[in-house]
Symmetry: C2
Subunit: 347 residues, 2 copies
Amino acid sequence: MEEVLSDRKKKILKAIIKTYMETGEPVGSRTISKYTDLNVSSATIRNEMSDLTDLGYIVQPHTSAGRIPSDKGYRLYVDELMKEKESEVAELRELVLEKTDKMEKVLKQAAKLLASNTNYATMISVPQYSGSRLKFIQLSRVSGLQLVAVVVCENNVVRNQIINLDEEMDDETILKLNLLLNTNLNGLPIQDINLGMIARLKEQAGIHSGVVATVLDAVAATIHVDEEDMEIYTSGATNLFKYPELSDKSKATELISTFEEKQQLADLVKERLADTDNTGIQVYIGNESPIKTMKDCSVVTATYELGEGMTGTIGIIGPKRMDYENVVDNLKTLKVELDKIFRKKLE
Amino acid sequence: MEEVLSDRKKKILKAIIKTYMETGEPVGSRTISKYTDLNVSSATIRNEMSDLTDLGYIVQPHTSAGRIPSDKGYRLYVDELMKEKESEVAELRELVLEKTDKMEKVLKQAAKLLASNTNYATMISVPQYSGSRLKFIQLSRVSGLQLVAVVVCENNVVRNQIINLDEEMDDETILKLNLLLNTNLNGLPIQDINLGMIARLKEQAGIHSGVVATVLDAVAATIHVDEEDMEIYTSGATNLFKYPELSDKSKATELISTFEEKQQLADLVKERLADTDNTGIQVYIGNESPIKTMKDCSVVTATYELGEGMTGTIGIIGPKRMDYENVVDNLKTLKVELDKIFRKKLE
DNA sequence: TGTTAGCACTCATTTTGAAGGAGTGCTAAC
DNA sequence: GTTAGCACTCCTTCAAAATGAGTGCTAACA
């Protein structure tokens, strides 16, 4: 399995992939013989191509057509062949920064920008705040039978919830509960606050067991709200229509559905985030992707950090012949820019 | 312009529209002569169709093809011809209700359900809380230089924001501000709380002008946050691929983009909500729609209410030959169900 | 006067076949 | 090991021909 390719074979493979990226058409031996600086005839190229086909790096759609790269070919390209390109970083910053104040907007804009920069489809996940600690918690009476619970985390994410009571709760009790909650929970990592802990608090609070229990349960719910479902913004899904190999009706339908549903994208993001060694950029080629509808696509993802344990994922989805260099570059740049923007925002 | 059509012409027009809805193909005279209970020959139908063409109710794509309904034809159909159908209401309720607790989830699910029920694309807007009154407002210290502002409206929508301070603010000032804010603003409609009012409060608060001003501005921003941009959920955009007249590449791209961007959908919703007499169901046929990319579609919208001035819009987007009866039915049902669900939730 | 049958005509769609062309694989020669 | 040459495959394109749905018109009929 671990064949070593000759330099010439590598050059030819690379030329095939590059040409195919541009044209989307199978590429023939004559094209390559002119394209490369190898100065060999098309017949020679043909022999080499025949070998590459046997080795599984390229594929012939039908007998008398040129070759197109296989997943294995792309993989080699991504892993070895595309090293040298000089990074011509786009200036994302000014565009992104222009007085957007809310994280959501920045993320949406980032997805949009990336899509228009690359001409592929993009997605970006709203960072989860796993690992973040509780900074502040408060119950306030809103009206007779209503409280509002407000939870602030270290990373300044705020959650809240209205709590409807069955019976009234006096100010003193509320005060006591606030004290109880803050002394016991502040500084704890969000995911460590579990039901057992809440149960213990309930005991400690004792007195008005009925209402207090309701309230504490609600507080717990507020803390953990949306823990499992992840928000994802997408952009440029229609860019995929530009690539004929993806835009026949059934494929397009499936792809666009995937982008509309977002569930599968979320799963992918979760998988990436769960990866312990998730610092780098990950490339899924064709069937390597966990999303089956994307078997004809490649997916490139990067994770970005907001400090304090908040990580999100950016992804680019395009045809297998996507311009990997450019995509990786863009992702790297965006990753850095997002880091800067958010780090700055979080004082 | 106000021609009166003979009964027979109406019947023929209706038959044409119905048949065209099913097949999507131009319908010819022979088909109609067999389809209707008129028992007239195709030649007679041809004469009538010729008249209808002259009157602009139907259109001939090319000389030797059948006829398809024009926008005017559909309009007549929607306004007059589809009255009689018996309403076979789908049982949305159980499906929607299954323990979803958050409004967003209910809305997302409603969009999804409607899309799968109708086989068209759907959208639903998160209700705006215009007209709602402020119920409760509170500033709390989160840490040394951070406050959190929490605003609760009558309809239990909660907004919050972290406020970063330049200098510390003592507990007494915070208390005073809370009192000031609550006594002055509570009970006021959200949109009546304007900058002038905030300016007056600033004066009243006087003392620590610098920090206090910052805080009050932030509070104002919290109250009005997102006032202008409207969240919209969509579902089933890919359903539109099922209709050949919409699924050629350029049209499909435009349509899907519209659904992805959502901005134009939001504009449409705003327009609908601004409509004083917005209780009913509105049908936009082809170019009647304010969204230009939907000139080959019809858009049917309904507004639903959550009481206390919160109104949202549900929309169905399909080909012009959409099954209007079914769509209108579904919308009506969903409208009622949403009313019930939310009214119940809001105690 | 309204309805109908019949027929010629139109025009989009489908089918067919031929021509063209890109590309391969193989062989033989260098 | 490299190259030129050539037969062969098979996709694509194009135009012509066949098909067929549907119309408009006319003439006959009730």
